[in-house]
């Protein structure tokens, strides 16, 4: 698994069950998209439950939302969008044969991902300091304490699962950056990178919605 790979056949890494490289690429891409469909339903269950409770307790959920730090949330959104941008450029570089640049862009992606998590955990720490962790330490003087707790349960569950997805993503990005540095990908063969990119962008999309439902509705209060 090094630059010693020479012949095209070797570079294509064609596995025995496939007939052609094109079939292999399509198979990997389709598989990744179907996996993302399962992710839609996974997060979808939480989004649905959130929507039902939000309809029931608009005030309580807005009061919860008002506690969020819009500054950190917005910065984090920008950071994640930037990481997606870097990821898209990394794949573009790989596809156009600029392998060195691709490695650096992948590392940038991973770095931005880590920055996102760092900011996210800063926020978690602030919630903990403010005694806003349901089940562990929760205090409020607001009238809709129950609904507010529910808001925080969903907040921690959904952003927590998102953070877990980010962690998996960052690990994979670093591994793929190392593989790219070792010369595993070129303009002909970089299917695994494309699949990873799909995953990364999807996690970005999830965050875009999380940002919209958790940070915005309490801003005006």
């Amino acid at each position: 698994m090094s630059s010693a790979l020479s012949s095209t056949a070797q570079k294509l890494m064609l596995r025995e069950q496939y007939g052609t490289p094109e079939q292999q690429r399509e198979t990997v891409t389709l598989g990744m998209w179907i996996f993302l469909a399962t992710e839609v339903m996974f997060f979808g269950g939480l989004f649905m439950a959130f929507a039902v409770y939000r309809m029931r307790f608009p005030q309580g959920f807005d009061e919860g939302s008002a506690d969020m730090s819009i500054v950190l949330g917005s910065i984090n959104t920008a950071v994640l969008i930037a990481s997606s941008f870097a990821m898209a450029l990394a794949i573009h570089s790989a596809a156009t044969g600029k392998q060195y640049r691709s490695v650096w862009l992948l590392l940038t992606t991973a770095f931005l991902g880590v920055a996102f998590l760092a900011i996210k955990f800063t926020e978690y720490y602030q919630h903990y300091e403010a005694h806003k962790v349901p089940g562990i330490w929760f205090e409020t003087s607001k009238p809709e304490a129950g609904a507010m707790q529910l808001f925080y349960v969903f907040y921690f569950a959904m952003t927590g699962l998102h953070a877990l997805h980010m962690t998996i993503g960052i690990t994979l990005v670093i591994i793929y950056a190392l593989r790219a540095a070792a010369g595993s990908f070129d303009s002909e063969y970089h299917t695994p990178l494309e699949a990873l990119g799909l995953y990364w962008h999807f996690v970005d999309i999830v965050w875009v919605f999380l940002f919209a439902i958790f940070y915005i509705s309490g801003l005006h209060t």
Binding site: T27, I34, M41, A49
Partner: protein, 543 residues
């Protein structure tokens, strides 16, 4: 493991002999071997679940709860449900027969992702082990449905452990579904167009859609139950204003389609059996194919019929009831088409055909009683009674397990390279059929009389019917043990099987029995539709 393009050697040993030793099995990526790993595992789970069922039936011989304590009884039916649903019925046909046959039927060398296929078995076993571990540590008494707030607040058993096991095994389902969909899309042999596919493939495709889209919702629901139970924050209970009925919505969004995960592969098998043993193409092939897909799709719209008395709105109940009737239509179409296929066929009475006919009969009764449960007013009385218990056992045991056994017999020559003994297998098919009806038909009457389900003790006037049911269960148990024994026997001592003992169509019969590791010496080129018995006749020179 990144092998290069490889041309199979001229005389390859078959998949059972190529590579020996435990390592070659545990690290195999051959879909056929993984199918056998799954077969062994689900068989073990089936008998564990069966023992729980038998203990329950013995307890119910007398009205009082005297054989086991009520708490033990509650754990028995919970563990029976959990094991049978997630560790037997759901993987039963797709992961054994489906895994074995899908690549062969479409003329592929393997599934699209062989490593993910193997990983799915390990994940499945991990989930099963966690569940069994929490069962033997102290069990779980919530029923397989985990209704909140009982499961999150009031139960004192290992709920989180059992839920975790199911959560983990869900990933195996997702991997399998994903693998099947991609395989069926991208790995078909040249000439294998969508409408030349065997109906087995169509049904498994429909099943895979459900695997992929429903399972994640169960995963996230169980995760929320675990969070609620561990941190005591009421997501699905009322202290913070949450709604227990929301859990039921999310649970049944998975679990109703999961019923179709269980029965669609059964329908897949039966379509093959009816065609092969009638030597006729399936009447209305396209209708049966699209019926599978529409069952999968409409099956997602009907979950609320489990909740007609749960405190949902009456208007929601209305649309869920209507949609439940709509999903009954494609099931009816399938039954009618199978029956019409038999008409003017050339019917053999081999064991698989007996199972197939048993399937159609029992599935019809199960489906028809589903119409009762979908009728809103009727459901008010019969829901949560033995009527429901009988109904879903007719579908899952009378349907799926009959089809599973029929399929195992039909493809046994291909799987093992040996023929099973015909006489005793006919006897076992008959025993299963009779035992099944004796076990579960009285339960319809019990439910109609108002006997609630999940009762360790019951009023004495229900005793006669319970005794009948238990008697049936022992016969059924014997019926299930027979194939286990004689199939094991035939693995070594059965007469060697020819490549196509039934003179059936289908690519799987065109390769040797057992097939080589790569399935086919040369990738087949398909020029005919499925079930082309006209062509088969020509091929055999019987014009």
């Amino acid at each position: 493991m990144s092998t290069l393009v490889k041309i199979p050697a001229a005389e390859t040993p078959n998949y059972l002999t190529e590579g020996r030793g435990i390592r070659s099995w545990l690290l195999t990526t051959d879909h056929k071997r993984i199918a056998l790993l799954y077969l062994a595992s689900v068989t073990v789970f089936f008998f564990i679940g069966g023992i729980f069922a038998l203990l329950m039936r013995l307890e119910l011989v007398t009205p009082a709860s005297d054989l086991v304590s009520p708490h033990t009884y509650n754990e028995l039916f919970s563990m029976h449900g959990i094991i049978m649903v997630w560790f037997f019925l759901i993987p039963s046909i797709p992961n054994t027969l489906g895994n074995f046959l899908i690549p062969m039927m479409i003329g592929a060398k393997d599934l699209a992702y062989p490593k993910i296929n193997l990983a799915s078995w390990y994940v499945f076993m991990l989930g099963g082990t966690i569940t069994l571990y929490s069962m033997f540590r102290g069990g779980v008494d919530t029923g397989w449905t985990f209704y909140t707030p009982f499961s999150t607040i009031y139960s004192n058993t290992y709920v989180v452990g059992a839920a975790l096991g199911i959560f983990v095994s869900g990933f195996a389902s997702i991997m399998t579904g994903l693998n099947f969909i991609v395989t069926i899309h991208n790995m078909r042999a040249p000439g294998m167009t969508w409408f030349r596919l065997p109906l087995f493939i169509w049904s498994h495709y429909a099943t895979s859609i459900i695997f992929v889209l429903a399972t994640p919702v169960l995963a996230v629901t169980l995760l929320m139950v675990a969070v609620e139970r561990i941190f005591q924050v009421g997501i699905f209970s009322s202290e913070l204003g949450g709604d227990p009925v929301l859990f039921q919505h999310m649970f049944w969004f998975y679990s109703h389609p999961a019923v179709y995960i269980m029965v669609l592969p059964g329908m897949a098998v039966v379509s093959e059996l009816v065609a092969a043993f009638s030597r006729k193409t399936i009447f209305g092939y396209t209708f049966v194919a699209f019926a599978s897909v529409s069952i999968a799709v409409i099956g997602f719209l009907v979950w609320g019929h489990h909740m007609f008395v749960a405190g949902t709105s009456i208007y929601a109940a209305m649309y869920f009831s209507l949609l439940s009737y709509v999903v009954a239509v494609p099931s009816a179409i399938k039954v009618f088409n199978w029956t019409a296929t038999v008409y003017k066929g050339s019917i053999s009475w081999d064991t698989p055909m007996l199972y197939a006919i048993g399937f159609i009969g029992l599935f019809t009764i199960g489906g028809m009683t589903g119409l009762f449960l979908a009728a809103l007013g009727i459901d008010v009385h019969v829901t949560d009674t033995y009527f429901v218990v009988a109904h879903f056992h007719y579908i899952m045991v009378g349907g799926t397990i009959m089809a599973f056994l029929g399929g195992i017999h039909y493809w046994w020559p291909k799987i093992s390279g040996r023929m099973y003994p015909e006489g005793i297998s006919k006897l076992s098919a008959l025993t299963v059929f009779l035992g099944f009806n004796l076990t579960f038909f009285p339960q319809f009457v019990l439910g109609y009389l108002g006997m609630p389900r999940r009762y360790a003790a019951y009023p004495p006037e229900f005793q006669s019917l319970h005794v009948l049911s238990t008697a049936g269960a022992t016969i059924l148990g014997a019926g299930y043990l027979m194939p286990l024994i004689y199939l094991f026997w035939s693995w070594h001592y059965g007469p060697p099987a020819p490549p196509n003992p039934w003179r059936a169509t289908g690519l799987e019969w065109q390769t040797s029995s057992p097939p080589p590791k790569q399935n086919f010496e040369i990738t087949p080129v398909v020029t005919r539709k499925a079930y082309d018995y006209e062509g088969m006749k020509d091929e055999l020179g019987l014009v």
